[in-house]
Structure formats: structure tokens, C-alpha cells
Symmetry: C2
Subunit: 170 residues, 2 copies
Amino acid sequence: MDVAHRSGCPINLSLEVFGDRWSLIILRDMMFGGRRHFRELLTQSEEGISSNILADRLKMLLDQGMITKADDPSHKQKAIYSPTEKAIALVPVFAQLGAWGRRYTAATEELSIRAQLLEEGGPVLWNRFMSELAHVHLGRPLRRKGPTVAERLQAAYDDLRARKTKRKTT
Amino acid sequence: MDVAHRSGCPINLSLEVFGDRWSLIILRDMMFGGRRHFRELLTQSEEGISSNILADRLKMLLDQGMITKADDPSHKQKAIYSPTEKAIALVPVFAQLGAWGRRYTAATEELSIRAQLLEEGGPVLWNRFMSELAHVHLGRPLRRKGPTVAERLQAAYDDLRARKTKRKTT
DNA sequence: ATCATCCGGTGCTAAATTGCAAGCGGTTTT
DNA sequence: AAAACCGCTTGCAATTTAGCACCGGATGAT
């Protein structure tokens, strides 16, 4: 049962859960990209994870209580992965990670737009997004109407990409 | 010169810099624990890093521009490592990481007290702390007087430890 | 001056992790 | 009936990690 921990420091323990090169990428795709099937996570990831690593990480995230796995009623072979509240609570971490990456790395404009909106929206937007995720993945009630944060992020991304494509082809 | 990146996503690029099991631990000890020599980082870390990994990571953090290395005038063999602004800008990331770890992992009370104060202090405290670090490590001017954030964090930790020890011995 | 200790590492070996390609039994689509 | 798709698994090579002994020079206490 007990896995030996390196220390009881909350930062260390966080890193022991998702401090590797893939776990957060997978959770990012699940929460921000809406990817919920193995194949989606495998083939539609920007970074190109390999199948055995993906399988291993999904297993680990399951064990850690970060995600759940369910059968897809529409397809006997498909599994649906969902983030738990524990994973949804990482939204502020993602926001800060994105903000830092936007400033200090050579991130591309298109892939930074979501991070930018999230940064500008601040904790209010983060909370709204977490509520939405809890609604979609955990069935929590959602009082707010109108366009969701997920939709707004996606729209901004699509917008920017459309404009970029046009710029190149004209 | 160019290192092949997996993608231009700011979150991914951040993880490519410090998304492993040790880099953030080292930076945490440097910024929150005031450890600036190889030996200090090696022997006073809660987690017990081994010397080759530490040497490797210091080299990498140097290459990435996260830290600088200087001679210690008081000792010809000592090197002084300092975080750059790029690393100091990780304070909000550490704060969120600590906040998450405090809630969702079995962090010990003593090692969580700093994270708690940082969480409660919010962005105002984070900025103050970053200013202090920029003062200590980058020589930036510091206008604020009185006890520093670093001192307050350390005091809270010492306090809690003293009370815990007393509780056990009485 | 001598000797133990401290300094930032290096080198070795074993173990664990990663990345890649291929494949598997079954399901669904065409 | 064939082709594509489903979530993985397996085998293998390459890289990374962990632990540990050790190094030559510098320092501090006696």
C-alpha cells in the first residue's frame, strides 16, 4: 500500500504525482483539449506520446485518483477517461505554468493564446473553468449560462489560426 | 544550438525546462531554503539527491539560464549558485504547487506551513517575495523594510517545529 | 606542520525508465 | 468481406537514474 515518499513536502509530493514529462501533458489534453479516449490522447497530442507510455501513465493517474475510467456506451471497445476533482484542481497550476512558459520560453503564438486568456482572466476565470469541468466530468450542477470558458478558449485558438492561415495564403 | 522541442505549447516548453523529478526541488531549496552551495544542496535536501544528478541538473539549469554560478570570495573551492529572474518568476508556480499538494497529498504539517502562508498571502505576498529574491540574488534595490517574507516563512517553520518537539517531550 | 574535514564534483555499475515499432484479439464501418 | 479502428501489450535498444566510492585541492584546528 505505502509507497515510499522522498519527503513530506507538499511541493515534492505534488512532483511525485505529476512531476514527469508526460502526466501534465495528458491532463492538459484531457481538460483543455477535451480528449477522453486512448486513441485521441495518442494521436492528437502535439507532442507525440508513445502508446506504452500513455498506457502506463493512464494507469498511474488512475491509481493516484487523478482520473477515472469508464466504458463508452456507444462503442464496446472504447474507454472514457475523465479527470477527477483532484486533477481539476490543477487548473491554477496550469495557468501559472502557461504564464511562465509564455514569458520565458519560445512558445508559439497560436499555442499561447489559451494561456494568455487564462492568465488575463485570473482566479475568477480559473474558478469558472473548474466549475465547468466539474459539471462536464463529475456531473455537478452548473448555474452559469452563455458561452463556456472552454468554448471561449477554443474559439480564440481557432480564430487566431484562421487569421494566420489567411495571412499566409494571401 | 537548437534543441528539438516536442511542441510550441507554453506548458510543454515549461515542462521541458523543469518537468522532471529534481529541477524544481533544487530551485525550491535555493529560493526557499537559502541553499547556494553544492554541498548544501546535496546534504541538506529533504529528498536526498545524489551528487551526479545534482551536478547534472545544475549544469542544465545553468544552460537554461535558470541559475548562475559564481566563485565564493571567502573560499576558493566554493561555488555560489543563484537563481536568475527566470527562476524567481517561478514563485507563483511554487505557490500553486504547494497549495495543491497541501490539499491533495499527505504532506506533513511542518513542511506545509510555508506553503500555507504563501497560499494565504496570495499574489501580494508572492510579489513581495520575488522582489526580495531579486534583491538578494540580483542586487535589485529593495524599498520595503521590516521582516522579510523569507524570514517570516522560516520563523513560522521554526515555531511549528519547536512546538511539535515540545509537545512530544512533555 | 600535520591531519581531519570540507570542497565541487567524476566514474563506475546496476537498475529503472523511455522511445519506437510491431502486433493482437476484438469491434465497427464501409 | 474487407478495411479501419479500438485499447492496449510485447520486445528490444537506448537513455536516464540511483547509489556509492573516490579525487585532488583548500581549509581549519591543533
